[in-house]
């Protein structure tokens, strides 16, 4: 996911740069009659229509199914996550591979960010751990191993030291 997002963003930025460079290379000599407003009107119209169609398609593709949907049923494993300055409590700390796991995250003091990283250090998913509320996030681990939990919402002096481990067990 991250690689695709980076590539898409760099492409969009590159398009902006190309448009500016092209216009700046064609600054002069000045035209006697400025046809800008008519050209601009046509270009704007095309861009507006195109961006509305692209936006609608993007919304449908990325919002359906709802990204925060949480599965239910007997096969689902639940993990209670409680954050407090500056430690994580996970119950249980071991989950099976290949089974939907739903994390129920809350906090005993301030806002924290429950971020789960795979053994290579890549962020897989996150949710906020907030006092008085329980946010749910679901994930199905595909590889066994030791996953790190880091805090992703600034929470004070030892924010960077707020870590825990989650073990994903292979199928027995």
């Amino acid at each position: 996911m991250q690689e695709v997002v980076l590539a898409a963003s760099l492409l969009a930025i590159a398009l902006v740069v190309v448009a500016f460079v092209k216009v700046l290379r064609e600054l002069g000599p000045g035209e006697r009659r400025w046809s800008g407003p008519e050209q601009l009107s046509r270009l704007r119209g095309r861009i507006l229509w195109l961006s509305m169609i692209a936006g609608a398609a993007l919304a449908l593709l990325t919002l359906l199914p709802w990204p925060h949907a949480v599965p239910t049923g007997p096969a689902v494993v639940s993990v209670a996550v409680r954050a407090s300055m500056w430690a994580w409590e996970l119950d249980p700390t071991r989950v099976p591979v290949g089974v939907p796991v739903v994390f129920h995250a809350t906090s005993g003091d301030v806002n924290h960010g429950f971020g789960v990283f795979d053994p290579s250090g890549k962020l897989l998913f996150q949710t906020q751990a907030m006092p008085g509320w329980v946010n749910k996030v679901a994930w199905t681990f595909t590889e066994p191993g030791r996953y790190r939990v880091l805090c992703l919402e600034y929470c004070g002096l030892v924010h960077h030291g707020m870590m825990a481990e989650l073990e994903v067990l292979p199928r027995s």
Partner: protein
């Protein structure tokens, strides 16, 4: 007019907007230095302790946001003053309130050790884990309230002046043109933009004032607790609207200055009015994209946050970006340093919006939120956008228009700033894509590879910015002295 007031009026360096821009430029340099300190610490070049790091981080954040606000309203006031009668005493009152707040904020951070980040996310200011006293948090929040009061006063004066000149904010927004197809006289683009910003920033400031007041009450009367989710909504509404307002105020300089170089009028069209009206609504409605990882929020609010993240980019590109490119294309314009910075500002802003709206997609946000991706996009549209606009206006006021275009030394500082800013922002984006968390005082050894180039790029930005400042201030002083003499 008293002799002192006459002397102040005669010296442009002491005109309130120029004073705000010069002091804002100086504070930008100081805040960039704090940013460099943080990057150097993460890269392992400096032994800044976490406590000091988080204090510096809080000062850098609030300093940059506050200074973007200060310089943004200075640009707004300067150009709006061409079309409406503004009471200069209000700007002085704004400056007094702003500076009083700054004193309290600096005291809270560097004397009291307050380090809850500029966003003061409830209830962190009150619950510090024993790092700072609750009274310190009250001082910080009171400082914010004073700064906010200054902005409130200033926007109320803008609203009064716009109503007095155009007969109502709806007319200043160009709504008769939008809904009836004609308006006479037409409000110029600067007035339409100023009216829109005035409306949404006033609403944002009122919500900000409410959450600050409740946060203070919560510390003073612990029984009066606030719902953390409601507080988060209010803080992000205020924060999002405010930081966006700083850019939308500064962009007025583009509408006002660029036509002087191209010889082509930047007129108010129906699409221009429609874009700013849509923006007025979207800027306020889009804030849930800061809460995409709070799954307890109603799903429709998060979906709206995602859709409007994309939607707010469209009017920007349709009106300001395409408008600028159309102004420039085959215009024969010879761009000097201020004009080049205005063009850079629109380009940097537009480019920075791209990774920002992509981060507003719920599924993307799940792996990008609160990584260095976030400072990646906001450093792009602030360093290469809002702050570039401010340097442009400062240099333009100091040096006027240079028919010869960019000199060699102008080119050096311009490219230092552009390449440094682009390198720094892209480095943040790449680190974010590599899952490096934001706001960490200590970085894993594996992440340092992203920090080392960032130090070099931060030095380049700082050198470029110092160059702009050094080029502007002597000009402002000389012009002030000349005008005072004669």
């Amino acid at each position: 007019m008293t002799p002192l007031a006459a002397a102040v009026r005669a010296a442009p360096i002491l005109e309130p907007t120029r004073l705000a821009l010069v002091s804002g430029g100086l504070v930008f340099l100081l805040m960039m230095t704090l940013g460099l300190l943080m990057k150097a610490t993460q890269a392992g070049f400096l032994p800044l302790e976490p406590r000091a790091f988080y204090e510096v981080m809080t000062a850098h954040g609030i300093g940059m946001v506050g200074t973007a606000g200060l310089t943004g309203v200075a640009v707004l006031w300067h150009f709006l003053g061409r079309y409406v009668e503004l009471d200069e005493r209000v700007f002085w009152a704004f400056l007094a309130s702003f500076l009083s707040g700054v004193v309290l904020i600096l005291g809270a951070v560097f004397v009291g050790g307050f380090a809850a980040a500029w966003t003061f996310l409830y209830p962190l200011p009150a619950i510090s884990g024993g790092v700072w006293a609750p009274e310190t948090a009250v001082v910080y929040l009171a400082g914010l309230a004073l700064v906010g009061t200054g902005f409130l006063l200033l926007h109320l004066e803008c609203a009064r002046a716009l109503r007095a000149r155009w007969g109502g904010l709806a007319h200043a927004l160009g709504w008769p043109l939008l809904f009836r197809g004609a308006q006479d006289p037409l409000p110029p683009p600067a007035v339409v933009a100023a009216a829109a910003v005035t409306v949404f920033n006033l609403l944002g400031l009122v919500v900000g004032a409410a959450v600050i007041a409740i946060s203070i009450l919560d510390i003073v009367i612990p029984a009066a607790s606030l719902d953390p989710l409601l507080a988060k909504n209010m803080i992000y509404f205020f924060g999002h609207v405010f930081i966006n307002a700083t850019i939308y105020m500064a962009v007025i300089a583009v509408y006002e200055i660029i036509p002087e170089y191209t010889g082509r009028p930047w007129t108010t069209s129906r699409i221009f009015v429609a874009a700013w009206s849509v923006l007025l609504l979207f800027v306020m409605a889009v804030y849930p994209h800061h809460l995409l990882q709070d799954t307890v929020m109603p799903a429709w609010t998060l979906a709206v946050g995602q859709i409007l993240s994309y939607g707010t980019a469209v009017p920007l590109v349709a009106v300001t970006t395409l408008g600028l490119l159309s102004q420039l294309h085959r215009s024969g314009a010879r761009l000097d340093l201020p004009a080049a910075l205005l063009v850079l500002g629109v380009g940097g802003w537009t480019a920075g919006v791209m990774p920002a709206w992509i981060d507003g997609i719920v599924a993307v946000n799940k792996v990008m939120h609160n990584t260095l991706w976030v400072p990646g996009h906001f450093h792009m549209y602030l360093i290469l956008g809002q702050v570039a606009f401010v340097w442009a206006v400062l240099l333009r006021l100091a040096r006027g228009r240079d028919e010869r275009g960019l000199s060699a030394s102008d080119g050096i500082v311009f490219w230092l700033y552009l390449l440094g800013g682009a390198g720094l922002a892209l480095g943040f984006l790449i680190a974010g894509a590599a899952s490096v968390p934001r706001r960490w005082a200590v970085h894993d050894p594996a992440w340092i590879v992203h920090d080392v180039p960032g130090v070099l790029f931060a030095v380049m930005v700082l050198a470029g910015a110092a160059g702009f400042f050094a080029k502007a201030v002597p000009g402002l002083l000389a012009r002030g002295a000349a005008q005072a003499r004669g």
